[in-house]
Symmetry: C2
């Protein structure tokens, strides 16, 4: 591609809206432009990168035997009502009416549509297993879209759905897909980790996230370097670590704490530490209020309570409910004398001189002892994990790292096939529920993740497997006929050989050309300059490396092809790319 | 692909909803399924065909130097307000509000978005010309979606937009794109015609439609076999052919026609022919009523009046207006004594004993002579063309054919660049409007058109260039180990060689397998049967032909590759496919 004819609107200045490197560099390199909040146009150079990423994913999906198809973006409300998600999905689901006033949504995901297709077309155990995928535009009406392609509202996603006869088959399909994801991200040169995750609105039995490691990542991952356990913060389990008894017992005492409601206020007023507090939260589970006790310095994780109780939803109670059940304003709840079912996080075990609300306005209790002042509650793991917590598997200390979610896999079980009656006849002619899995990759987000992990202060450093072009040819003095002719020759020859070559034939200063070449992140630069050319030489430089090689003009094309092939070898490019 | 593992839900029965061959066969061959009115899932086999069509289009677009990009499906209302189309587009535009109650639409086309991008990024004449394209999902909320993929609401479209410095450049871009379209449709083996067309809601100076010829086509094309003129019915011009005077003159007479309002009623009552009637229509043009006269047997074409008057819109007047200006109920308007600006189609020239409304309830006039009874009106071509009309170019008789719109090109001029201020600085530093063109191909519709033109009573007959697989291998007796082994060997060998092979390894009767092979339309069938195999032979059959060739097992793979290559030669497959 001749740059004089290309559309490469690079920016010299840093766009103010960009908070992370990928957003900044994709804008500056002229690969994306914002159309509306969380809605981006992908410009030609960006589209080339996207197509390479799509090709890698497509090849790895095809390798698993999954079939590509295309499911509509516009989905009728009826199907979402059948699965129960029309009510549950909230404002993230973009809903609208057509001209006949029928309700539809812009698909944020396709479980309903594919389950509807499968229940109509699959009859027999002979038709299973099946796995389908598509690469398609999705919309999720995020409250706060940000970071460019990382948290957009409209985005390209690869979604796949597996259908099996039984649990064992579904687990094999799940494993296959996880391996395909690992291969795909490896081929994109992404540094990633597979972690246990919450299933959220998609639902199902278990779930993994594929996290690109990135300091600016929005997600916190809790990892144990000792045993290898890793999970999203939402999902991470914590080992039982008993809180050391806070000194000897003392008699329970009721103290006035006028207007002191938060952990901080109470601690400051009483001269206590947050870890001495037994924080009491009132939650609603299927209409029933419950009390949850947790140490004052920790955060409650409602997902864990949900799983513990096998509940559909857990919500914090509203002020009215709290006042009704504690007979006190919000901020003074406590376990002593409360007539609610009470569950406690392991963290409060062994507290013998605890501080709690007194279930009375402006009063707290001190020297509270579990078992003495209130009955031993039902214990469980209800805290939000954090670095420093004990590993649930091996007991060693875990740490936090930041990540960017590239993909998510869900073992759905029969959640959708039950709700929507997707069944097959087994060899005995018995109607049996199909066991499902679903698997997503954020394709546009993967493009951002590549840039997030591969850049320096000058611009992007594309891995060869997803680079928009492999080589950029830069003539230093375009006016010089020998420089121009040699540059043209190299460009034509390499293009002819099937490589993707960018040729900077613009009448710009060499400095500006080098700056653009660095910004665009093309893996190899061939610089054709008057001085070197007089000695029959051109320069080869690898983006991201300082060293420059001088190469005889006769051998430069052969040499660069060797270098590209070697780069494909070191970058684990995999077959077909 | 082993058919035992494929997802090919073929249907034995004819789906009732299908009215045309492509709809019927795409359903029966398991390539598409309806999700909602005008909204279809594309199943794996259909997706393969779609990808081939997309690849052909992409290659031809790239060959013109156009750059592929991706523009969002979700577009903010503001841009459509700037172009003026938010108000004009009507109910076909699917509109919705996001969670913040901002208005958006699901893009039916992308003129606004691309013009917005270009006006921000293009500054100088050096940045022009440019041409961009994308292959992307669109939505148009059709009143009556039908014929499967032919008139859907959600569909895949290739849209392209050209930006030039001046009219001459824009015309060159237009010609380039027309040639690329012709090559694309030729490579898909489509029998098509390029015809002059109306620009409709897209607007601009001139426009062409690319029509696949099809007896079931929704569009009427008017062609002149003598000079080659062809245009859509909406657009087709008609030569001036004077109506022979209907006998000698007679005195104007007023006759009672109680309750006779339509052409048919009046003719029957008065014993006249429709071609004796001067039909008088009252239309509104920018708030002004006008009278349009046309022969009773012809239809009025408002597009022609619009162009004649350079008006934004022409609408038939409502009953109230008609009563006000004719002082009679609807059905009795006439040119005699009316005080409105009057225009007439050439077809009424020379009528000397015409019948018209009397501008009075239940009365008509007979023996009306133009020039004597009312002033000679302004003449023009205002009729809807039809077969048998005279050609506007050569005067010979034209005929009607039916077509299916595959693509549409528009020379937009400065319609959008003026409304949205998309300008560049010319070499003298003067701010100048960019001259635009836009070009669309209905990608999913092209798939339907291929089937519409290539099928017989047994199923689809895919051209090799877009066939989902080139060869289907059918073992007649799967239980026979020699038959099975030879079939597997051929399947593996051809797959290894890079061809796309379907292998019918299902435990079905041979008859059912042959039926499916015919239905799916795979160009070549290799049949492996016990009897022929005993003689070291297998059968090769081309879909759509009766003849069967016997080929030695040793040479069958070489032979089939020759046949595929030959088919690609006769089918104008073009480069790269």
């Amino acid at each position: 591609m001749r740059m004089s004819q290309a559309f490469l609107p690079t920016l010299r200045e840093e766009p103010k809206e960009a908070e992370v490197a990928s957003h900044l560099l994709l804008l500056r390199a002229g690969m994306i432009r914002k159309l509306a909040a969380g809605v981006y146009s992908i410009l030609p150079l960006g589209k080339r990168v996207l197509r390479k990423i799509e090709t890698i994913i497509r090849e790895e999906m095809d390798r698993t035997g999954a079939h590509e198809l295309y499911l509509p973006a516009v989905q009728p409300a009826e199907l979402w009502e059948e699965s129960g998600r029309w009510a549950k999905y909230g404002k993230e689901l973009l809903r609208f009416q057509d001209r006949h006033e029928h309700w539809f949504c812009f698909g944020p995901t396709h479980e309903e549509v594919i389950t509807d297709l499968v229940r109509r077309e699959i009859r027999s155990y002979r038709d299973l297993p099946q796995c389908f995928y598509q690469i398609q535009v999705k919309f999720r009406d995020e409250v706060r879209p940000r970071f460019g392609l990382i948290r957009g509202r409209e985005f390209i996603m690869k979604d796949a759905y597996s259908f099996d006869r039984d649990e064992a088959g579904a687990e094999e399909s799940y494993r296959k897909m996880v391996r395909a994801y690992e291969r795909s991200f490896t081929r994109m040169n992404l540094d990633f980790r597979v972690v246990q995750a919450e299933a959220g609105l998609i639902g199902g039995n278990f779930s993994h996230e594929f996290m690109a490691l990135a300091a600016t990542g929005e997600d916190l991952i809790i990892v144990c370097d000792h045993c290898g356990y890793s999970a999203s913060q939402e999902r991470a389990e914590v080992g039982k670590s008993e809180t050391p008894a806070s000194g000897g017992e003392k008699a329970l005492e009721r103290v006035a704490t006028p207007g002191k409601k938060t952990v901080e206020e109470v601690c400051q007023f009483l001269g206590a530490e947050p870890r001495d507090l037994i924080k009491t939260l009132i939650v609603q589970v299927q209409g029933q209020p419950l009390a949850i006790l947790i140490r004052g310095d920790l955060e409650f994780n409602p997902n864990k309570l949900k799983r513990h109780l096998r509940a559909e939803a857990v919500e914090l109670a509203d002020a009215e409910t709290i006042e009704r059940v504690t007979k006190a304003p919000v901020g003074f709840a406590g376990p002593v004398g409360i007539s609610l079912k009470t569950l406690a996080d392991h963290s409060i075990r062994g507290i013998s001189r605890g501080v709690t609300g007194a279930n009375a306005a402006d009063f707290h209790l001190i020297n509270v002892k579990i078992g003495r002042d209130f009955p031993d509650p039902e214990y469980g793991d209800f805290r939000l994990a954090r670095g420093g917590d004990a590993c649930s598997q091996c007991g060693k200390t875990m740490r936090e790292i930041r990540g960017l979610e590239l993909g998510h896999s869900f073992k759905l079980g029969v959640k959708y096939s039950q709700a929507m009656r997707a069944t097959y006849l087994d060899p005995q002619g018995k109607e049996t529920l199909i066991v499902m899995g679903c698997y997503g990759i954020g394709v546009t987000r993967a493009m951002a993740a590549v840039v997030e992990q591969h850049h320096d202060q000058d611009g992007i450093i594309f891995p060869i497997s997803v680079a928009p072009y492999q080589v950029i040819v830069v003539p230093v003095e375009l006016a010089d006929s020998q420089v121009r002719e040699k540059s043209e020759e190299i460009y034509e020859k390499l293009t002819e050989a099937g490589w993707e070559i960018l040729y900077d034939d613009r009448a710009e200063r060499a400095g500006a050309k080098f700056k653009d070449a660095d910004l665009l992140g093309i893996p190899f630069r061939i610089t054709v300059g008057k001085r070197n050319l007089a000695n029959g030489r051109v320069e080869i430089k690898r983006r991201g490396e300082k060293a420059v090689q001088l190469e005889p003009t006769e051998t430069v094309c052969a040499r660069i092809q060797e270098l590209i092939s070697a780069a494909r070898g070191t970058d684990p490019a995999g077959p077909g790319s």
